[in-house]
C-alpha cells in the first residue's frame, strides 16, 4: 500500500467507470444492485468510481440507498442482501468474488469507514490509543511498542492535540469533534487507499464540522486517499467534494464535477434539492411588511437554570433576559450544550427556572414560581413542537386522539373538539382520514405536521419549536418551514424557533437570539444579525456554515487541521460549565478579539443600538460608535 502514486485530479469531471483511467480507480462500481427479498431493490444500477486523492460526494435524502452502497463496498451488508454488479472492485480486489479472508485483509488495508456517530463507532470500554494500535499492529506488521509511536503520529496528523494524553483516554472523555478525529485516525490506521465517510459531520456542531471537513481535505491531499463522502447536507458536499453523485431512490440520477452539478443541475430532482436548501443570504420571504415591532408578549427576565450531574454543576442557562414580541418569529441559535433546549423547556414550563421570571403579558398568566394550576393554564397558551416527531407521538394512540389531547385541558365539548381536530389537520395539509390512523402510517415530515397540529389545536399564543426540522430531509424541511410560516400568519401566532442551523433560522425568523455557554450573547433583528454580526461568536458561527455554493470554498492552504485545540476547549465551555473562566467572557478562549478584560470581566448584554443587544467588550464592526 505504501508509495502509491497520487493521481492527478486536474479533471474533476472525469467520467465514471474504470475505462481509460491511467492511474486506476481505488473504487470502481458498475451497475451495482442491492436488493432484499422480493421488494424493489434499495440500490439499482449504481456506477461510481473514485481515484486516489479525490473526494466524491454522494448526496441523497434518507432512504436513497447511499449507506447501502458504502456497506456493500466493505462487504458488510446483512446476509439477507442480494448484491449483484458488473464490477465492484477496491484497489483491484473484486469484492463480490473475494472470500472472507481476502475481504478481511482488504478492510482496513485498502478501505476503511468513518461513521456518523463517533461515540458509537469507538469501543466505549477501550482507550483510544489501544483501539488504534490494534489496527496498526494488524495491518502494518509492527510490534506493539512501535505501534505506540505510529498511533501518536496518526493522532497528531488528524489534529488531536496532546496525542500522548488523548491516546490514554476513553471515548466518553473526548469532545464530539475530537472523537470524530480519533475515528478518522482509526480508519487511517491501516493506511487505506479508500475512505468511506457516512455522514461524518451530521452529529457535530457547525464550528466543529468546519474543522472535520478541513481534515478530510487534508487527508485527501496528504495521504492521497480517495474519499467517498456521504451526506444529506449540500453545503458539506459543496465545500468538500471534487465530484458529486446525486442519489434518488437507489439510483444515481446525476453525477459530475461539483460546480457542474451544483451550479448547473441537469435533473429536476437536483434542482428541487438545491432550491430546498435554506441559504444564509436568503431572508424570510415576506409578502408584505409585518408588524415586527409588536409589543412584548412573553418576557423572560434574568432566568437561570442549573443542573447537578454526578456531583458537578452544569449551568445550563445563566441570566438570560429577552422579550418575545407579539406576532414575531424569534429564532434562537447556539451549539449543542448552549442551553437553548433548556430555555425552551422553561418557556413551556416543563422546567422551572432556579431564578428569574417568565411573564406572559396577559392578566392571569404569570408564572415563575407559580403553582401547578397557573403553570397548567400557561402551558395551554404556550405549546411546543419537538425535534423528533416519532418520539413525541405515542405510537399506540390514533392521530386524532393525540392531536385532541391539549383540548382535554380546556372545556371543549366532544363535538367541537372533533371538529377542531379535523380543522387543524386540514390546516397542516394532512388527508381528511388521518385522525383515525396510527402515527406509524405517516412519514417523518407528516408526523411533524401532526405534532404541529397538536401544538396549535388549543389556540396557543406562543409556539416553541425545538429543532422542528433537523430530523427531516432537506426537501421536507422546506415544506415544513413553509407550512410553519403560513400557519403563523393565518393564526397570528408567535414562534420561538430554536435551531442549530443558522440558515433555517434565517429562513423563518424576524429576530434572532444567539446563545453561547448558557448565556445570551447577541440579539438583533435577523437582517442586521446575519449581515453585520456584532458578537465574535456569531461571526464564527456564520463563517463556519458551509455554503451550498462550491465557489465559496476557502482558499486551500489557509488553515491546517489544528482546529482540534479549539474543539476541545469548546467542548467544555459549550457545556455551560466554563469554570475555566470564572469571571470573564466564556468565549474569550476562542475569540480572536479577546483582550485582557475579556478574561477577567464578564461582558453584560447591552443595547448597542435600538433593538440590538450584544454581550461583548469589543463588538465587531462597532469601533466607530
Amino acid at each position: 500500500m505504501k508509495g502509491r502514486p497520487v493521481a492527478d485530479t486536474a479533471d474533476p469531471a472525469a467520467p465514471d467507470g474504470a475505462d481509460g483511467d491511467p492511474s486506476g480507480p481505488v473504487l470502481a462500481i458498475r451497475n451495482l444492485t442491492i436488493g432484499y427479498g422480493t421488494g424493489a431493490p434499495s440500490v439499482r444500477g449504481v456506477d461510481l468510481s473514485v481515484r486516489s486523492g479525490e473526494i466524491v460526494g454522494l448526496i441523497g435524502e434518507s432512504g436513497s440507498g447511499k449507506s447501502s452502497v458504502a456497506l456493500g463496498c466493505l462487504g458488510l451488508l446483512p446476509k439477507a442482501a442480494e448484491v449483484t454488479a458488473d464490477e465492484l472492485t477496491i484497489c483491484g480486489t473484486d469484492v463480490l468474488a473475494a472470500d472472507e479472508r481476502t475481504l478481511t485483509r482488504m478492510r482496513g488495508d485498502s478501505v476503511a469507514m468513518v461513521f456518523q456517530d463517533a461515540m458509537g463507532a469507538l469501543d466505549p470500554s477501550m482507550r483510544i490509543g489501544n483501539q488504534i494500535a490494534e489496527v496498526v499492529t494488524r495491518h502494518r506488521g509492527v510490534k506493539r511498542a512501535e505501534a505506540r509511536a505510529v498511533v501518536r503520529e496518526l493522532l497528531d496528523k488528524v489534529g488531536v492535540p496532546e496525542p500522548d494524553r488523548r491516546a490514554r483516554q476513553y471515548p466518553h472523555q473526548l469532545s464530539g469533534g475530537l472523537r470524530q478525529r480519533a475515528a478518522v485516525a482509526l480508519a487511517l490506521a491501516g493506511d487505506p487507499a479508500l475512505l468511506l465517510a457516512d455522514e461524518p459531520t451530521t452529529a457535530l456542531d457547525v464550528t466543529v464540522q468546519a474543522g472535520i471537513l478541513e481534515l478530510f481535505r487534508t487527508v485527501r491531499d496528504e495521504f492521497g486517499v480517495g474519499i467517498v463522502l456521504i451526506s444529506h447536507d449540500i453545503g458539506v458536499i459543496a465545500q468538500t467534494a471534487d465530484r458529486v453523485a446525486v442519489m434518488l431512490d437507489g439510483e444515481i440520477v446525476e453525477h459530475g464535477g461539483v460546480e457542474e452539478v451544483l451550479l448547473e443541475p441537469k435533473t429536476e430532482y437536483t434542482r428541487m434539492l438545491l432550491r430546498s436548501v435554506p441559504h444564509l443570504d436568503r431572508p424570510r420571504d415576506e409578502p408584505e411588511s409585518r408588524p415586527v415591532a409588536g409589543k412584548p408578549l412573553y418576557v423572560v427576565d434574568d432566568v437561570s437554570r442549573t443542573y447537578r450531574s454526578r456531583g458537578r454543576l452544569i449551568h445550563a442557562v445563566q441570566g438570560v433576559s429577552l422579550d418575545v414580541r407579539e406576532g414575531e418569529v424569534l429564532g434562537v441559535v447556539g451549539e449543542s450544550g448552549s442551553g437553548k433546549s433548556t430555555l425552551a423547556k422553561m418557556l413551556v414550563h416543563l422546567e422551572r427556572p432556579d431564578s428569574g421570571r417568565l411573564t406572559m403579558s396577559e392578566p392571569g398568566h404569570r408564572a415563575g414560581g407559580s403553582g401547578g394550576g397557573r403553570a397548567g393554564r400557561l402551558r395551554r397558551r404556550v405549546q411546543m413542537v419537538f425535534q423528533h416527531p416519532a418520539g413525541s407521538l405515542n405510537p399506540r394512540l390514533r392521530v386524532g386522539t393525540s392531536v385532541r389531547e391539549p383540548l382535554a385541558a380546556s372545556d371543549t365539548g366532544a363535538k367541537a373538539a372533533a371538529e377542531r381536530v379535523r380543522e387543524v389537520l386540514r390546516e397542516v395539509g394532512l388527508p381528511e382520514d388521518s385522525a383515525a390512523r396510527l402515527p406509524d402510517e405517516f412519514s417523518g415530515g407528516q408526523k411533524q405536521r401532526i405534532a404541529i397540529a397538536r401544538a396549535i389545536v388549543g389556540d396557543p399564543r406562543v409556539v416553541v419549536l425545538d429543532e422542528p426540522t433537523s430530523a427531516l430531509d432537506v426537501s421536507v424541511q422546506a415544506q415544513v418551514l413553509d407550512l410553519l410560516s403560513k400557519i403563523q400568519r393565518a393564526e397570528n401566532l408567535t414562534y420561538v424557533f430554536i435551531s442549530h442551523d443558522l440558515a433555517v433560522v434565517r429562513a423563518i425568523s424576524d429576530r434572532v437570539a444567539v446563545m453561547y455557554a448558557g448565556r445570551l450573547v447577541e440579539l438583533a433583528d435577523a437582517a442586521s444579525l446575519f449581515e453585520a454580526p456584532a458578537h465574535w461568536y456569531t461571526r464564527e458561527l456564520l463563517a463556519a456554515m458551509p455554503s451550498p455554493d462550491p465557489r465559496d470554498r476557502p482558499e486551500r492552504p489557509e488553515r491546517r487541521p489544528r482546529a482540534g485545540q479549539a474543539e476541545s476547549g469548546q467542548a467544555e465551555s459549550g457545556q455551560g460549565e466554563e469554570a475555566a473562566a470564572p469571571a470573564g467572557c466564556a468565549f474569550a478562549s476562542r475569540c480572536p478579539a479577546a483582550e485582557d478584560n475579556c478574561r477577567t470581566v464578564r461582558p453584560e448584554p447591552v443595547e448597542l443600538e435600538p433593538g440590538r443587544v450584544v454581550a461583548c467588550h469589543h463588538p465587531a464592526g462597532m469601533e466607530g460608535r
Binding site: G120, L122, D123, R312, S568
Partner: protein, 342 residues
C-alpha cells in the same frame, strides 16, 4: 454564579483547577465508599428483620425444650436462663451487641456455640457454592456468547432449548434427576453422602460433582440467556461494525470489543444469581445430604433455635450484600464511565 460552587469539567483540566480539586476524594473511592455504606445499612436493617422474624414465629424454644407437661415454674426458669424474659427491644440490643463482638449465642438444642455450628458447616456450603459458580459461568458465558455469534443456527437453537429446560426445572427436581441418571449410567459413582475435604480430598470432589452441577446448570442457564441477549445487542453497535470495517474477523471483534461491553448486564445478573444460590443450596443440601448452612437454617427454624436461626438468616443476607459489593467492584473495570476512571 459563584466560583466556589463550580467544579471543573472532566475533560481537559488546566493545571490551576487540578490544584483546586486536589483534596476531593477520587470518584472511584467515592463510588465504592457509598456502596460500602449502603451495605452496612442493609445489614443493620437485616439484623432487625432476622431478629423480629424468628421471634414472630409461632411457638418458642421454651415450650419445645420443656415439653407439654412441664410446670409454669420450670418454664419461667428456662425463660430466664435463655435470656428471653426482658422486653424484645432489650433482647435485640443485647443480641446485636454480642453479634458485633462475634458472639452469636449458644444453640439451645445441642448446647454448642452457634459460631462452632456455622464454622463446621460453612466450608461445605462455600465449597458447593464456588463449585456451582464455576459450573454456571463455564456453561453460561461461553455458550451464551457462541449462541449469539451463531444466531439462528443449530448451535443457537440447541443452547436456547437447553437454557429453557434449565430455567423451567426446579433445582431439587433437577438434583433428583441427576442422582437417578448418574446411578444408572455410572453405578459406582457416589451419588449421595458427603465426605469433608480434609478427610479425603478425592472422594470430596467426587461427592461435589453432582450437587455442583444440579445447582450450577440452572443458574448458568440464566447467565447464558443474558449473555446471548447482551452479545446480540453489542453486535448491533457501530463499534463492532468499525472493528469489522478495519479488518477484524468476527471472532477477533467479538473477543476484543464484544465480550467486555456485553458483560455489564451479565455481571449484574450473575451477582444476584450467585447470591441467591446460597438460598437454593438449602434444597440441594437436603437432596444430597450435605451438612451445610442450608440444612442448619431449616432445622434451627423448625426447632425454634433462636440464636442459630438468627445467625443463619444474617449470614444468608450478608452473602447477598457482599456479592453485590463484589459486583460493584467489577463495574469500574468493565465500564470506564462508572467511577470516573480517567
Amino acid at each position: 454564579m459563584s466560583s466556589a460552587t463550580q467544579v471543573p469539567s472532566p475533560k481537559v483540566r488546566p493545571p490551576e483547577e487540578r490544584a483546586a480539586r486536589r483534596f476531593a476524594p477520587p470518584p472511584l473511592v467515592l463510588f465504592l465508599g457509598t456502596r460500602l455504606l449502603r451495605g452496612v445499612l442493609v445489614m443493620f436493617l437485616l439484623s432487625i428483620i432476622a431478629f423480629g422474624l424468628v421471634h414472630m414465629l409461632p411457638g418458642n424454644s421454651v415450650d419445645l425444650l420443656a415439653g407439654p407437661y412441664s410446670t409454669p415454674e420450670v418454664r419461667a426458669q428456662l425463660t430466664r436462663d435463655l435470656g428471653l424474659d426482658g422486653p424484645l427491644i432489650e433482647q435485640y440490643t443485647h443480641w446485636l451487641g454480642n453479634v458485633l463482638r462475634g458472639d452469636f449465642g449458644i444453640s439451645v438444642f445441642n448446647g454448642q456455640p452457634v459460631r462452632t455450628l456455622i464454622a463446621d458447616r460453612l466450608p461445605n456450603t462455600l465449597e458447593l457454592a464456588i463449585a456451582a459458580t464455576i459450573v454456571s459461568i463455564a456453561w453460561g458465558v461461553p455458550f451464551g456468547a457462541i449462541a449469539a455469534m451463531k444466531r439462528g443456527r443449530f448451535f443457537d437453537r440447541v443452547a436456547r432449548s437447553a437454557t429453557f429446560l434449565g430455567l423451567a426445572t426446579p433445582v431439587f427436581a433437577f438434583g433428583v434427576a441427576l442422582v437417578l441418571f448418574a446411578s444408572m449410567v455410572m453405578p459406582s459413582w457416589p451419588t449421595l453422602g458427603w465426605v469433608p475435604f480434609t478427610a479425603d480430598p478425592v472422594r470430596n470432589v467426587q461427592a461435589l460433582v453432582l450437587p455442583a452441577l444440579a445447582l450450577g446448570l440452572p443458574l448458568g442457564s440464566t447467565i447464558c440467556r443474558y449473555m446471548r441477549a447482551s452479545m446480540l445487542e453489542v453486535y448491533e453497535q457501530d463499534y463492532m461494525r468499525t472493528a469489522l470495517a478495519t479488518g477484524s474477523t468476527r471472532l477477533q471483534a467479538t473477543v476484543r470489543h464484544g465480550l467486555r461491553n456485553a458483560s455489564g448486564p451479565v455481571v449484574t445478573i450473575a451477582g444476584l444469581q450467585l447470591a441467591g444460590m446460597v438460598g437454593q443450596s438449602i434444597l440441594i443440601e437436603n437432596v444430597f445430604a450435605i451438612p451445610g448452612i442450608g440444612q442448619l437454617t431449616v432445622t434451627s427454624i423448625l426447632q425454634k433455635d433462636y440464636a442459630a436461626a438468627q445467625a443463619c438468616i444474617l449470614l444468608l443476607g450478608g452473602v447477598f450484600v457482599v456479592m453485590n459489593l463484589v459486583v460493584d467492584l467489577f463495574y469500574p473495570l468493565i465500564n470506564p464511565k462508572v467511577g470516573g476512571l480517567r
